[in-house]
Structure formats: structure tokens, C-alpha cells
């Protein structure tokens, strides 16, 4: 090549200079575990379904959601959303309204009549599910999708378990519940109602079932011994709430006292108020701070005019009047009697002191372990008897719908593996995408969307749903508040901030890759990644 005057070399590109050899640290793309997913008792992949929801693809979002939980419209109403408690956004402004977006997706699915995809293969195995509550329905759904034949036997006149016979209508309208149950049954799950299983081994033998999942719940209201005079009206909260589903509504009178401090006590008091009680008083032996009920439920109850009597125990019930003893908390936080008494006028007393499990169906089953009134299961949800699994309220756990749904899924995976003679091994969990992994500069401030609430007057007299839902615009807004913790959302930051042009953009949906020929390992990409999806690892030199 002929060169101009004073030029002796061909000009070349710096591309020949592989600066990747300078590197001592190497960036790698990772998927970290978002705190919401980590906190979800039902094991939902929340970050992933929000990702689809924020692009407006609600059906895809719903399909991703229902891979783990078949009851989003129910969940979007009754779940206590531990996901929101764990949400990293709470440290920026407010937690993402995950629960309200879930409800929007659930309602959208009912409105648009989205169906589950039926199983493609048949395994030829038969599984009996006892109990059509959240745990049983969840197990049936997952087992059916895995190709097993599933039959649910339930003692009650309708499916739903505590979702129908425990949760009041103003929190969970029954048409929503019915729609989500029907969608599961439409997969080909057989449902037998009014079919109480008295002897599990017998039922399995007769029905030629290869395995069973027990999820009978805890429906027996605990009674405390309280001396009671004649004609005093005492009933338990479970019975009260269940009878709300029947023809004969209970007569409670004008003044109702509920004894207990859990969510059931709140439900019972709010129900009593709607039944016409002018005074509904919750008597609890400790303080509000120590109440097991969720604070927002206590708040909603107070808004509806429910009264609370803290630090009190009921000593005696007579016709129209209760004797209450004042308590004080000792230094360990336990209530101690003070010897001071007072009386409380009342027409009826509702006991909300917890629930027991009816374990009679297990009589005569060998190798079972029963402790504190619950069935003991191993980490694979199997009882001591091979092939019999159990979950939900009847095993030791936190008794919520969401935990029950999670049990159903987990049990289904283990039952499926057990039926195939294998052991289910859960995939290893990713590292947690904690707040310190994020670079929140890149997220604009955006406060949470508040769901509309039914006005007070109607909340005191009707069973209309208290909390409203989001419409499409604000559901989309809410979904887009997600920080996508630990998972790339293709914001192009790494591609943009690399001073060495060493990030290759692979196009929509395909994310990025590093060009290690040129990456000098400066870590700018990792530092400026908003969601913590890049990790720096040492080069082996």
C-alpha cells in the first residue's frame, strides 16, 4: 500500500487490542430471588407476572401467576400479602400493591373467561384429595395438570372450605369463589360433595386411589370453660360464620361480645355488626399490639364501629350480662389477673379462641404421628403412612389461605414424584435480591395506588365487598412500580454505561451478553444496574 508523505504504517482499528486481558473481575448476568417471591407462602413468581402485567399482557401475567396459584381473584382479596411486607420498594416510597394487581388479574380472567390448559398426558394414577378448601383445591389443580386423575371428597354442601364457611362475604364475594373453583373443576377434577371421609384407608381402597392428600382443615371451634348461667347465649365463631352460608341466620341480638384476638374474632364482630348488632365488642386479654389479628383488619373493624376491650378476660356468663376481669401484662408480656371485675351487658357471646382439627378420618391408620391436635408431616408433606400426604390447617403451620395453597402445590409435586417412584428435589434457590443490591436512582418516585373502600354506612349494614379493585389504568400503573428486583428488565443501562462498548445487546426479550474480549472489569454495569441483575466475580488468574 502506498502511503502519503511521512506515513509509514497502515492505519488499523483498536479492535485488534483485546483489553479484556486487563480484567481481574468479570461481570456476569444473574437472576436473583426477588423478596416478594421469597416471602410468598404460595411460591408465586410475583416479579415475573408483574413483568408481563406491566407490558399490558394481562393474560400472560395471569398464566404465569396460575402456574403456582390457581386462585388469584380469591388471593387478591383474602391474602395477607407478606410479599408487600418484603417489597424493596417500601424502602424507596411504598410497597408495590401486589395484592391489588393480583386481584385485577384474577377479576380480568373471570371477566374474559380465561381457562386453564388441560393436561397433555395421562399418568394413569389416581389421587384422592380430602377437603375442597384452598389446600385441597390447589393440590387437585396441580396434580391434574401433571396428568393424574383427581377426585376431591368434601364433607360440606359446597366446595371452598374455610374460604366459603369461614371468610365473610364482604371480604370474598361468593361469585368470585365459585368462578375460580369451577375453573379448576373444568380441568377434569371430580368433586364429591356431602361426602365425609370417615376412614381414609377404606375410601382409598374402594376408590382404587394410589395416593391421598388430606386437607380437611380445622373447623371445630375451641371452647373455653366459662361458668355460664341458664339461658345465656354462647356460640363459637366458626359456627357463626358457617351458619351465615345457610338459610337460618343466627340471632345474635343487639349487643354482641366476641372473645378472642385473632382474625376470626374480627370477622365474627364485623359479621355481627352487619347482622344488626348496635354494639359489637371484642374482648381480648392482651393489648392491640399483641393481638394476632392483622392490623389493617383491626383498623377496618374500628372504622365500622366495632369496640375493643383490651386486657380483659371473661369470668362468667349470665343472662344478658358478662363478668369481666381486668388484666395487666407482666414483664414477659403475659396477662395476669388483677382481681378487679366489671360487668358488661350483652345478648350473646361469640367465642373466637382458635380451631381444632377433626382427625376422626385417620382413626386406625398405622404409623401416623399426631401432636397438639395436628398431623405431623415430613418436609415432603407426607404423613407417617406411605402415600398419605396432608396439608393446610390440619398440619402445623400458619393457618392462612395462602399457606394452604402453597401446601397444596408442594404436596402435589411430592405426590407426583412419589407416584413415579422418585423423590422431588426442589431447584436451588437463587441468592436474595436484597435492597443493597439495587441502584434505586433510576426509579422515579411513584406512590402506591390506594384501592377504593366502601363507605362506612354501607359497611355496617350490608355484606357488600368492602375493598374495591383497581381499573386497568391504575393496575398498569401499579404493576409498573415493580422494581424487578434481581431480574433484568432490559433497561439498557449496562449496554449504555460501558465505557468500553463491551456489552452486546441481543434484542427484545433476549437480554444482553458481555464481550469479554474487551470488558476491562470496571464494574460500572454492575453498579449502575437498577435491579441487581449483574454480579462481579473474580477472574481466575
Amino acid at each position: 500500500m502506498k502511503h502519503p508523505f511521512a506515513i509509514t504504517l497502515d492505519s488499523g482499528s483498536s479492535l485488534a487490542n483485546l483489553t479484556g486481558s486487563w480484567r481481574t473481575m468479570r461481570p456476569v448476568y444473574v437472576d436473583r430471588l426477588p423478596p416478594c417471591n421469597h416471602a410468598c407462602p404460595a411460591g408465586e413468581n410475583i416479579q415475573d407476572w408483574l413483568y408481563h402485567a406491566e407490558s399490558g399482557d394481562y393474560e400472560k401475567a395471569w398464566r404465569v401467576l396460575t402456574q403456582d396459584n390457581p386462585l388469584p381473584a380469591v388471593m387478591g382479596r383474602v391474602c395477607y400479602h407478606p410479599c408487600e411486607g418484603a417489597c424493596n420498594r417500601a424502602q424507596v416510597d411504598e410497597a408495590v400493591g401486589i395484592n391489588s394487581v393480583e386481584r385485577f388479574l384474577g377479576d380480568e380472567a373471570i371477566k374474559r373467561n380465561w381457562r386453564f390448559t388441560p393436561p397433555e398426558q395421562k399418568t394413569g394414577k389416581r389421587v384422592l384429595v380430602v377437603g375442597a378448601g384452598p389446600s385441597g383445591l390447589s393440590a387437585a389443580y396441580h396434580l391434574r395438570r401433571m396428568g393424574h386423575a383427581v377426585a376431591i371428597h368434601d364433607a360440606g354442601p359446597a366446595a371452598g372450605g374455610m374460604m366459603r364457611f369461614g371468610i365473610p362475604k364482604y371480604r370474598l364475594p361468593r361469585d368470585v369463589l365459585d368462578a375460580e373453583i369451577k375453573r379448576i373443576l373444568d380441568l377434569g377434577v371430580e368433586l364429591k360433595l356431602n361426602a365425609k371421609v370417615d376412614n381414609i384407608l377404606e375410601t382409598m381402597k374402594v376408590g382404587r386411589f394410589d395416593a391421598a392428600f388430606l386437607a380437611v382443615g380445622a373447623h371445630i371451634g375451641k371452647r373455653a370453660f366459662i361458668p355460664a348461667g341458664s339461658a345465656s347465649k354462647v356460640l363459637d365463631a366458626v359456627t357463626l360464620l358457617r351458619s351465615m352460608e345457610g338459610e337460618d341466620k343466627p340471632l345474635l341480638g343487639r349487643r354482641v361480645v366476641v372473645y378472642g384476638g385473632g382474625n376470626t374474632a374480627i370477622d365474627a364482630a364485623r359479621t355481627a355488626r352487619r347482622m344488626g348488632a348496635t354494639e359489637a365488642i371484642i374482648v381480648y386479654r392482651r393489648t392491640r399490639e399483641r393481638m394476632p389479628a392483622h392490623d389493617f383488619e383491626v383498623e377496618e373493624a374500628l372504622q365500622e364501629g366495632i369496640m375493643m376491650k383490651w386486657l380483659s378476660t371473661i369470668k362468667r356468663v349470665d343472662e344478658g350480662v358478662l363478668t369481666v376481669e381486668k388484666m395487666r401484662l407482666d414483664e414477659k408480656g403475659f396477662p395476669q389477673p388483677t382481681g378487679e371485675f366489671e360487668t358488661l351487658e350483652t345478648d350473646s357471646l361469640v367465642l373466637a379462641l382458635g380451631q381444632d382439627v377433626d382427625l376422626s378420618l385417620l382413626d386406625g391408620v398405622p404409623e401416623l404421628e399426631i401432636k397438639d391436635g395436628t398431623v405431623q408431616v415430613t418436609s415432603n408433606m407426607m404423613t407417617g403412612h406411605a402415600g398419605i400426604f396432608a396439608g393446610g390447617d390440619m398440619v402445623p403451620s400458619e393457618r392462612t389461605v395462602t399457606v394452604a395453597v402453597g401446601h397444596g402445590k408442594k404436596a402435589a409435586r411430592h405426590i407426583d414424584a412419589w407416584l413415579g417412584g422418585a423423590v422431588y428435589a426442589a431447584p436451588e434457590k437463587h441468592e436474595l435480591a436484597s435492597f443493597d443490591k439495587l441502584n434505586t436512582w433510576y426509579y422515579a418516585d411513584a406512590p402506591k395506588t390506594v384501592r377504593p373502600m366502601l363507605e362506612g354506612v354501607r359497611r355496617q349494614s350490608t355484606f357488600e365487598e368492602v375493598q374495591g379493585g383497581l381499573d386497568e389504568t391504575n393496575a398498569l400503573y401499579e404493576a409498573r412500580r415493580c422494581l424487578s428486583c434481581g431480574n433484568c428488565f432490559e433497561c439498557d443501562n449496562c449496554y449504555g454505561v460501558c465505557p468500553d462498548n463491551a456489552v452486546i445487546k441481543l434484542g427484545p426479550g433476549n437480554r444482553f451478553k458481555f464481550n469479554y474480549d474487551y470488558c476491562k472489569g470496571c464494574s460500572l454495569c454492575a453498579t449502575e444496574c437498577p435491579c441487581g441483575a449483574i454480579k462481579m466475580v473474580s477472574e481466575t488468574i
Partner: protein
């Protein structure tokens, strides 16, 4: 992109809380994303250059040139002053520039660019635009005379200064853009007044504004959208234009390579580097501080300021720096709501 459409785009991005300030955003159309988000950006400054890890100047230069390449559809010539940018991109005979690029002397980039622009006019190639660029040494010290001449003649050149606050590739010597108290090889952290002394140096953006030229702006590598908008706007104007881009230097500042963008951001958020625009001699707007921080947060991660955090005398100088920042905040109206927000 005109000003009003840029504002509208920013406003629209606010709805996508997740990607408001990120380089790209999968939820908005390609046309509304930054040039840097584009899969076919020109990469005017490509891989294999010899800048240090985490170099702010390499980043700033690619950001600016890729926008200019897009708006001129590749009809662009760059004239480079001597400095890091020239040395690390073009060690003879190899270059990282994927565009026509010229280097002459340390101090004459503005004059050479004026000449290139004149040549294009003579050759009837009005579509070809010219950018002169250099570091703060080549701009505020050595090339200052030529630059001031280019300004007062209103030559059709956009001059971009990448300000890393010193002569970095020759071994970190002080320039007239080095901030007070910064330790450099020529302003050691010793004696009664350690580091660069207060009351020295100059603000070239202000001097440029005083020339009354059509457009002056400051920008940083921490705010890509703002930088791209300004370069794009400057390329839409004829006559002398000046953009001053703050580019942290891990080597000269004694900071971690991964902190380059964070430091550029903190410089703005603490008020020490005001980001503003001026037209025909008057400041027209400034970028508001989003998350105010004291100057310590910006200074502490830089070893050149380590002596400020050692004793009471250091604390006093720190307070002086804070006063400068506070003065900037008032003078450039750095607090308040972003216009159109």
C-alpha cells in the same frame, strides 16, 4: 428533537416508573429511547481503546459523538485536542474512532475545527458538521485563546470539553479546571493550604456564556438523557456552541472505577457541578437536584480529597466547599420542581 418534544418524552417516561432514568426502556417505542439504547448506535468510539477501567471521558465522548452522528446522519468530522482522549484512542497507527477524526496540536483544536468548517463551506458541503473536542487542559488552559477566538467569530463549530479536572494522562497535574483543595501532582496535600488553593481556576461555561454565543450547556455522564438532548439541540444550531461535560477520572481522582457515574451524579446532587443551559448570553434553565446531598458524600470517595477528612483544618475547608455548593444552588436555582414535571 426540539425542547418541547424532549420534555413531553420525559414526562411520558415518568409513567414507566421503572425505567424513567435508565438508558432504555422496553415499554417505550425505539424512537423515544436514548441513542445509547439503540442496537445500531454508531459506536463512534469503539472497543479496544486504552482508557483506564471506568473512564468517564471515554463514556462521555461516545455518548456525545453517537448523538451527533445520528443527527448528522454520519456527516460529521471531529477535531481533537491533545489529551487523554487523543492518546488512549489513537496511538499511531491504530484508532478507536469510527468516524472522520483529526488531531493537530494541544492548543489549536478550536482553530483547526474553524478551518475544517470553512473548508466544508468552500467545498459546498453544508451538510457536513464539525465538532472540536478536548479535555479541560486543552480547553481551559492551552487552547483557550483559539477557543475564545472561535466563540467571538461565531464559527460554526460545536466545541465539547470533557472536564476531568486535571492533566490526567501526563500524571495528574493541576489545570485551571481543578477544584480547590484537590490534590494533584503539582498541588500536593501538604503545607498550610493542602491541595489546590481556593480562589484560583476558572469556569469556562460562564466565560462561554459571556461571549454571548448561541448555545452553552453543561452536562454529566450521570444523566444520559440530558446529555443527549443537549448535544442534539446544539447540532440543530449554527454558529459557535459549547458543551462542558463533567467526566470523573478514577485514576486522577483516586476513586473506584465502578464509582464513575455515581460521582458524576453526586457532583450534581451536592451542587458543586451545576447543570444548566444558556442561549445568547443568558442562562435559560438548570437541571434540578433530585436527592440533595452534602458535599462530603461526593468528596469522600475520592482520595484526592482525603486530607479534608483528617483534621479540624480539613473540616474548615470542607465547609468552604459546602459554601461554594450552596452558592451554586442559589445562583443556578438548583432546587425546586423540574420544568414540565
Amino acid at each position: 428533537m426540539s425542547d418541547s418534544t424532549a420534555n413531553a418524552a420525559t414526562q411520558k417516561l415518568r409513567f414507566y416508573q421503572k425505567g424513567t432514568f435508565t438508558v432504555g426502556n422496553r415499554l417505550v417505542p425505539d424512537a423515544e429511547r436514548s441513542v445509547q439504547a439503540s442496537i445500531d448506535r454508531s459506536n463512534a468510539l469503539t472497543c479496544g481503546h486504552r482508557a483506564c477501567q471506568g473512564c468517564g471521558e471515554a463514556l462521555g465522548a461516545r455518548y456525545a459523538m453517537d448523538v451527533a452522528m445520528r443527527v448528522t446522519r454520519g456527516n460529521l468530522i471531529a477535531v481533537n485536542a491533545t489529551g487523554c482522549l487523543e492518546v488512549f484512542t489513537t496511538p499511531y497507527p491504530e484508532t478507536s474512532w469510527q468516524m472522520p477524526w483529526l488531531h493537530s496540536l494541544f492548543g489549536n483544536a478550536a482553530a483547526v475545527a474553524t478551518g475544517v468548517a470553512a473548508a466544508m463551506r468552500v467545498k459546498s458541503r453544508p451538510e457536513v458538521r464539525v465538532i472540536a473536542q478536548g479535555g479541560d487542559g486543552g480547553t481551559t488552559d492551552i487552547g483557550f485563546g483559539c477557543l475564545s477566538g472561535m466563540f467571538e467569530r461565531n464559527d460554526d463549530v460545536l466545541y465539547i470539553c470533557y472536564d476531568n479536572e486535571g492533566y490526567m494522562n501526563t500524571g495528574v497535574q493541576r489545570s485551571s479546571a481543578t477544584p480547590p483543595t484537590a490534590r494533584t501532582a503539582t498541588t500536593p496535600a501538604m503545607g498550610p493550604e493542602p491541595g489546590n488553593v481556593f480562589g484560583t481556576g476558572k469556569s469556562l461555561p460562564r466565560i462561554a456564556v459571556a461571549h454571548g454565543i448561541p448555545y452553552v450547556a453543561t452536562a454529566t455522564v450521570a444523566d444520559l438523557h440530558d446529555l443527549e438532548r443537549k448535544v442534539s439541540k446544539a447540532m440543530g444550531i449554527h454558529g459557535a456552541r459549547y458543551i462542558h461535560i463533567h467526566v470523573p477520572c478514577p485514576l486522577g481522582w483516586g476513586s473506584a472505577s465502578h464509582d464513575t457515574i455515581r460521582l458524576a451524579r453526586l457532583a450534581v446532587e451536592c451542587g458543586l457541578f451545576p447543570v444548566f443551559e444558556a442561549e445568547h448570553g443568558a442562562v435559560t434553565n438548570s437541571r434540578k437536584i433530585r436527592r440533595p446531598v452534602p458535599v462530603d458524600e461526593y468528596l469522600k470517595p475520592q482520595r484526592r480529597f482525603a486530607h479534608l477528612f483528617k483534621d479540624a483544618a480539613g473540616a474548615k475547608r470542607l465547609a468552604h466547599l459546602q459554601a461554594i455548593a450552596d452558592h451554586n444552588i442559589v445562583e443556578y436555582k438548583l432546587l425546586g420542581q423540574e420544568e414540565g414535571a
